[in-house]
């Protein structure tokens, strides 16, 4: 067992972990942070995408011990307020990507959504004004089986415009 200290969504945790424990298993099974999902075992689907020191990673490709001393941000910490609000208009504190996935219907079952949003957030950090093609290529490591991606691409570009300070939905 190895001791790790990892800051997840602003809270610092210290735990003894097995060296083979994946970061995503640490998040889900040790910390109970189940907002990050597992969709495969070959690092293809991207459902487990989080930010490690500000860059997106598939948390099934990182061992918990490799994240020792690092900062991890997950979907659960993305909204500026609790974000757990009820139905309807409780979207005020949400990240523009969360809001845009909602308004553009960029999700159906929602299982890929946490990873998709975290990957998109990193894409927009690198490229604040991506073309449709750039969004499609930027998200090719994240699989969605429900939406056919049309509305995911729309949502990412809508959020990008909002993050650039442009008026959205006019």
């Amino acid at each position: 067992m190895t001791n790790v200290q990892i800051t997840v969504d602003g809270t610092t945790y210290e735990d003894e972990v097995e060296p083979r424990l994946l970061l995503v298993q640490y998040l889900r099974d040790v910390l109970g942070k189940t907002g990050t999902n597992i969709g495969c075992d070959t690092s293809n689907c991207g459902a487990c995408t989080v930010h490690l020191d500000g860059r997106s990673v598939k948390s099934c490709t990182v061992l918990a011990v490799q994240a020792d001393g690092a900062t991890v941000d997950t979907i659960e910490g993305l909204a500026s307020t609790d974000g757990a609000g009820g139905d309807g208009d409780a979207t005020a504190g949400w990240h523009p990507l969360q809001r845009a996935f909602h308004t553009e219907h960029g999700l159906q079952c929602g299982y890929c959504t946490p990873g998709m949003i975290m990957a998109a957030a990193d894409l927009l950090r690198e490229n604040p004004d991506p073309s449709e093609e750039e969004v499609r290529h930027g998200l090719e490591g994240n699989l969605c089986r429900c939406t056919g991606y049309v509305n995911i691409v729309k949502a990412v570009r809508t959020a990008a415009a909002e993050l650039r300070g442009e008026e959205v939905g006019a």
Binding site: L107, G110, C112, L139, L143, Y149
Partner: protein, 790 residues
């Protein structure tokens, strides 16, 4: 506003943002794998690495002694746990072979992934480690990996059945021989509808826990909590009323979670045996073996027509690879397409043979569309082949042969009644949006220029039957269940309502759409409606979600329950307003006395008055709650015209979709945004079959596309932006006029894309490209057409 004008404040037909989204975009969903009861044991299934072998020994003793392990069991250890085999629901012929299928095998393994033992440990890791310590010895037998080989019956998958032929079904109507003999032209083809893996992004998972008060709760990533409850009660011998099944948030299904799986039965049986909660979550690679596959048909087809392009007859001889065992709808999946080979065309003769065949592969079952994509692919590909043979435009052939709008309702040669449709309107709209004539001109130019990148245009003027299903029709087909759906409306004292539905959404947005239906019916604010589902303790009756049935039957049930609430409320209103019931009018949530608009009570007023129950009619109970169980009078028949323009690099074989236009007619629409999303996703899965996906087995029966590394689920970079539009021809079989949309895109899109690919290559002599139309398959088709060695 005139008296006849429809209200403009309605929710039905409008975009309403989904109520479901809040927890999903913030990471607060409850997936089955998020549920870990105290004291829970993790289950691992030890699976066969061999496709076909006699099991000569299973030793769990070392595994049992491993750290963290609580117990380990062989198939023999658990033989007494099962009251009956895992179910097959459809007795498609009187003599169908239904070999026993228990959650763990004992005598033989019949596919790679067949379960032989289970290990239970206090952590996931301990269970994984201990599963490696189970010692199974096998005596290998030959694998049976294709249907032609299987039908020789030299190696039997189920020895006691004496044959690998599960069933043969034949049906013809019209004078087939005469129609084909007298036809001016007959075109024959063999098409391969390859094996697919559904790949819902949430893997399957199950948690079974004993309840302190007796009984059990099973949480499962399932589309069918109600059917699962009945079937698990039967298989495991738990009294039905002591078994609660919950489908929490479920991450996609597409048919892959429409089943009664071995692991669900194992988890419940072991919770019974050990008195502790049992949890199992599949890995993706495990799921690729242990969760059902789809399609896998060989289609020998013939189409007959007059010389001027009128289609008169169709023959289909289908060999369906069922895999090693019968899952819930394995036998019936090809049958769901049996009625649809004639599609939208006015045939004089129809001849269909389906042979279901056991092989040593993962069982096939219903995958999005279930039988109808196979039938639609067959007919729509063959119409294009016929057009090429006749030298006609493929749309012209379709126009000559389809059912005209004024001919509805139309009785088909397969005995269905299509209630409504307007193929002309959908086609005209699609052709205009697509720029059909201009693309044909560009295609001709490229052909004339000998361009190495050729342009192909593919058409699919599809229809399907969905809204499964009228119960009497199911009974006449020996399907061992009904097709009704249930809804309850609970009126709360403050005038808010709870709608309880028997459908079980897993991405389809029923909470939002059902809220729209109920809000409009009762004149309530959309926000005042809560929709509950997916828990048999709350939703006591239901037939769940599959077959594009939820809206046409479940939505109809919500509407009907609302009508019953109104009927009751009207009597209370008459009593409270001291008026005759005949004089009470209901509009926009208010009951008023005809001619005295000031004498009125809102539905909320009535709800509170009924709750207080101080003053109500003698012959009534003080309650507004109502329930409706709807058995549909007919299937529903969405249709549409999908057009695909594909560029094919004749040197590399690479296919690129340039345009994809879909005009769907799914009847009246409750929420256009949700409908469009369903069409997008459906098209993507159909395009996946056309271009990318195939489950491949080697000669030894190993699944060589055993993970997402090798099985190509399309990403955003693999797909174009689909252009969608709609026409709206209401269904006449339900008061909402709705038809269903979940499977339409998948059913329509596969032939549209493949027709485009073949069309691009037709000047080179190509008449088919095997799916997926990968660079390799395109290259092989070109080589074969040009006399090469491929």
């Amino acid at each position: 506003m005139t008296a006849t004008e429809a209200p403009t404040t309605g929710h039905v037909g409008q975009v309403r943002l989904r109520k479901e989204d809040a927890r999903l975009v913030t990471g607060r969903a409850t997936w089955t794998d998020n549920i870990t009861p105290a004291g829970c044991l993790y289950m691992m299934v030890v699976r066969s690495p061999m496709a076909h072998a006699t099991v000569t020994g299973v030793d769990v003793s070392v595994a049992t002694d491993a750290p963290g392990v609580v117990a380990a069991y062989t198939g023999a250890d658990l033989a007494d746990a099962w009251q009956t085999s895992l179910p097959s629901v459809w007795q498609v012929t009187p003599d169908v072979k239904e070999p026993p299928h228990y959650p763990l095998t004992q005598d033989k393994v019949r596919f790679v992934g067949d379960g032989v033992a289970v290990v239970l440990a206090t952590s996931r890791q301990a269970a994984v480690d201990a599963a490696e310590l189970v010692d199974v010895t096998y005596d290998p037998l030959p694998a049976v990996t294709d249907v032609a080989q299987a039908l020789k019956d030299e190696v039997l998958v189920h020895d006691d059945e004496g044959t690998n032929r599960c069933y043969s079904y034949h049906w013809d109507s019209g004078n087939v021989d005469e129609v084909f003999e007298q036809a001016d032209v007959v075109v024959e083809r063999r098409l391969i509808n390859q094996r697919l893996i559904p790949t819902a992004i949430e893997p399957r998972a199950v948690v079974a826990q004993p309840e302190p008060t007796g009984g059990y709760t099973v949480f499962s990533a399932t589309q069918i909590p109600h059917i699962l409850r009945i079937q698990l009660a039967i298989v495991c011998g738990v009294p039905e009323h002591q078994l609660r099944v919950v489908a929490p948030d479920v991450g996609g299904g597409f048919g892959s979670k429409l089943n009664i799986y071995a692991e669900e039965a194992l988890a419940l049986a072991l919770a019974q045996k050990l008195g502790q909660p049992i949890k199992w979550t599949e890995t993706r690679s495990e799921g690729y073996q242990a969760t059902i596959h789809g399609r896998d048909h060989i289609q020998d087809l013939a189409i007959a027509a007059t010389s001027d392009g009128r289609i008169v007859g169709f023959k289909a001889d289908i060999k369906a690879d069922l895999g090693a065992y019968l899952q819930l709808v394995t036998t019936g999946t090809p049958m769901l397409g049996a009625f649809m080979y004639p599609a939208i065309y006015k045939l004089e003769a129809h001849d269909l043979t389906i042979t279901g065949v056991f092989t040593t592969k993962t069982p096939t079952d219903a995958y999005r569309g279930a039988g109808r994509p196979e039938a639609t692919f067959a007919i729509e590909r063959m119409v294009d082949e016929l057009a090429a043979e006749l030298g006609m435009d493929p749309m012209e052939v379709r126009r000559k042969s389809w059912i005209a709008h004024e001919e509805f309702p139309y009785d088909t040669i397969t005995g269905l009644t299509y209630d409504s449709g307007n193929y002309e309107a959908a086609t005209d709209k699609a052709m205009a949006l697509f720029g059909y004539d201009e693309l044909r001109r560009e295609q001709q130019q490229r052909r004339d220029d000998g361009d190495t990148t050729q342009l192909g245009i593919g058409i699919s003027t599809f229809t399907e039957m969905c809204g499964l299903a009228p119960s009497r029709a199911l009974g006449s087909l020996n399907y061992r269940a009904g097709g009704w759906e249930h809804a309850t409306i609970r009126m709360l004292p403050t005038g808010k309502i709870q709608v309880i539905t028997g459908t079980s959404p897993h991405g389809q947005g029923h909470v939002t759409s059902w809220s729209q239906i109920a809000a409009d019916a009762l004149g309530l604010p959309y926000e005042d409606v809560e929709v509950l589902h997916g828990d048999t303790a709350i939703s006591h009756k239901g037939m769940d979600t599959y077959g594009s049935r939820s809206l046409a039957i479940g939505g109809y049930a919500v509407h009907e329950a609302a009508q019953k609430v109104i009927a009751k409320a009207k009597r209370f209103a008459a009593h409270l307003l001291e008026a005759s019931e005949d004089d009470i009018e209901f509009a926009d949530g208010t009951f008023s006395v005809r001619g005295s608009p000031d004498a009125a009570k809102t539905i909320q007023d009535i709800a509170l008055a009924v709750f207080a129950a101080h003053d109500y009619p003698e012959d009534m109970e003080p309650a507004l709650d109502a329930e409706a169980t709807i058995d549909p009078e007919n299937f529903s028949f969405p249709h549409g015209t999908h057009l695909c323009a594909a560029e094919v690099d004749t040197e590399t074989g690479r296919v690129t979709i340039r345009r994809y236009v879909a005009v769907d007619d799914v009847g009246k629409v409750i929420n256009p945004q949700i409908v469009e999303g369903q069409v997008h996703g459906g098209i993507a899965q159909g395009v996946g079959q056309a271009l990318y996906e195939e489950a491949v087995y080697d000669a030894d029966g190993n699944l060589t596309t055993g993970s997402l590394l090798d099985y190509h689920v399309p990403s955003a970079a693999d797909l174009p932006a689909f252009e969608t539009d709609r026409t709206e021809t209401p269904a006449t079989s339900n008061p909402l006029g709705v038809k269903g949309v979940g499977e339409a895109g998948t059913i329509a899109s596969t032939p549209a894309v493949v027709n485009a690919v073949v069309d691009a290559l037709r000047p080179m002599g190509v008449t088919d490209v095997r799916m997926p139309t990968s660079p390799q398959h395109v290259w092989e088709a070109i080589e074969a057409a040009q006399g090469g060695a491929a």
